[in-house]
Amino acid sequence: MTRDTYIFLALVLTFAFVNGVLLANGSLAADWNSLGIMVAAGLTLALYSFLYKDNPLFKAAENIYVGVAAAYVFGQYWYQTIYGEIFVRLKALGGEDSTQGDWWLLAPTLLGLLMLTRFSRRFGWLSRFSFAFFVGLGAGLTIPRTISSFILAQIEPTLQPLSWSVEGLNLLIILVGVVAVLVYFFFSVEHSGVVGKVSRVGIWFLMVSFGASFGYTIMARLSLLIGRVTFLLDDWLHLMTN
């Protein structure tokens, strides 16, 4: 056995010992809720063990997460939509209270089923009807909404009248930033002279933007760590005072 194997065995035994102590001193009760907390704590520690190096505990926890998430999502699709809305409402068409049914559901159901013919070489061509429908529908819905929401609605506040105020200064910075970054991404002209200088300003704006995004990303990742550490210290070990 290698040194790492001894380390991981020691960790597993320590985890079992800590849970034993928590159960013995009454911090955790012998019920399903506490079992859930212990399993969650064990999986959290197993996933963080990757920070030391890749190991079987991490791999097991990772695979459990993928499996549970896939099953949960399938359950949601099945009970809420496939069974809850399609199966029940189509079945109602032949029942006593046919007002609960809806013939229109047959159209999307059929299109959805045609998608599954992709698995067959013989009938795979049928899926093209569904794809044609979705591509056409998607393009028709998306193009006008994108132009309206992301281009027209964004141009308007960028071109507001400037004024001698803090708001005016903000507008000026945004205007300079938009123009400079657009010039930077204009590759039909050589970036030298005035164009080069303006595109240089564009690079600075992009750098500030990347820095802000990176800062927010660090904040987000630390928030996730804080969440897990809070769970371990509070829900599992009961060490936090509030």
Partner: protein, 271 residues
């Protein structure tokens, strides 16, 4: 020393960050938090809804992987709604969201003694992303004919007369993905013109700032900091506020490592 700093084992940094997070949490220190303009804007919009005795649509679009950021936000928003007797209708546009939404609705609903079906309703998950938003705008009852437990929403007093998205006084999306930017704004807010705001993970916040300037969003809660600011406004310090001191300490440690790393880099280049 410089060489050691340049080749420092990343696991040493992990240990520093871990203690930087754990020690402030254990010491139970709360740093003062000043709510920013975009968070105050959400609070004020909900106050307007409260004065009008209105109804809010709360959309849950996040999963288990972003719970530490999003769940405190959901709690703070619901506390504000229920403390001011605002009616809440909750829907889920992410398949992982229903369990999390149900948990927080029941917890805060019980805290304020709210009645299901009259004060709040939970309509569960519906697949389809932006097409669900469009569907809700055209016919809310067609998009969500029944609640999470199979009761027809026609039978719930709260949802009986809500026919389209325009019948809601405010829509708030809790998002860990594309839902604010690519579902709610183009297919909901822009098309149907209701007051809209969102809460998102910190990673997404910079991408959403342009929608504040264009007033397509009333306000924005960005990450744990946004949740902590909202907790301050609501007057109930909870998990987000507790996490902010740990956040600040961890940021300080990372900044120190960046500064030392750069000093070591420039000194090694000089040699």
């Amino acid at each position: 020393m410089i060489q050691w700093l340049m080749n420092i084992d990343r696991r040493i940094i992990f240990i520093f960050v871990f203690f930087g997070v754990a020690l402030p949490l254990l010491s139970n220190v709360f740093l003062p938090i000043k709510p920013t303009r975009d968070v105050v804007a959400v609070y004020e919009e909900l106050e307007k809804v409260a004065e009008a005795g209105g109804t809010v649509l709360l959309s849950f679009s996040y999963g288990a992987s972003t719970v530490p950021e999003m769940q405190p936000m959901a709690r703070a928003i619901l506390r504000h709604c229920f403390s001011r007797d605002i009616k809440v209708v909750a829907v889920c546009l992410w398949p992982e969201a229903p369990g999390l939404a149900q948990q927080v609705l029941e917890e805060i609903g019980t805290e304020f003694g709210k009645t299901y079906g009259e004060d709040y309703a939970f309509l569960g998950y519906k697949p389809g992303n932006f097409s669900v938003v469009l569907n809700m705008g055209q016919d809310f009852h067609d998009a969500f004919p029944q609640d999470n437990w199979g009761t027809a929403i026609e039978d719930l007093p709260l949802t009986r007369n809500l026919r389209t998205l325009r019948d809601f006084d405010f829509v708030f999306d809790l998002a860990a993905g594309d839902s604010i930017e690519f579902w709610w704004i183009p297919y909901g807010q822009e098309k149907y013109g209701f007051p809209f705001a969102g809460g998102c993970t910190a990673v997404m916040a910079p991408d959403l700032f342009p929608f504040l300037q264009s007033r397509q969003m009333v306000g924005l809660l960005g990450g744990l900091a946004g949740a902590a600011e909202y907790e301050t406004l609501v007057g109930k310090q909870d998990k987000a506020t507790a996490g902010m001191s740990a956040q600040s300490m961890a940021h300080l440690i990372i900044v120190v490592f960046i500064v030392f790393g750069n000093i070591a880099f420039f000194l090694s280049r000089r040699r």
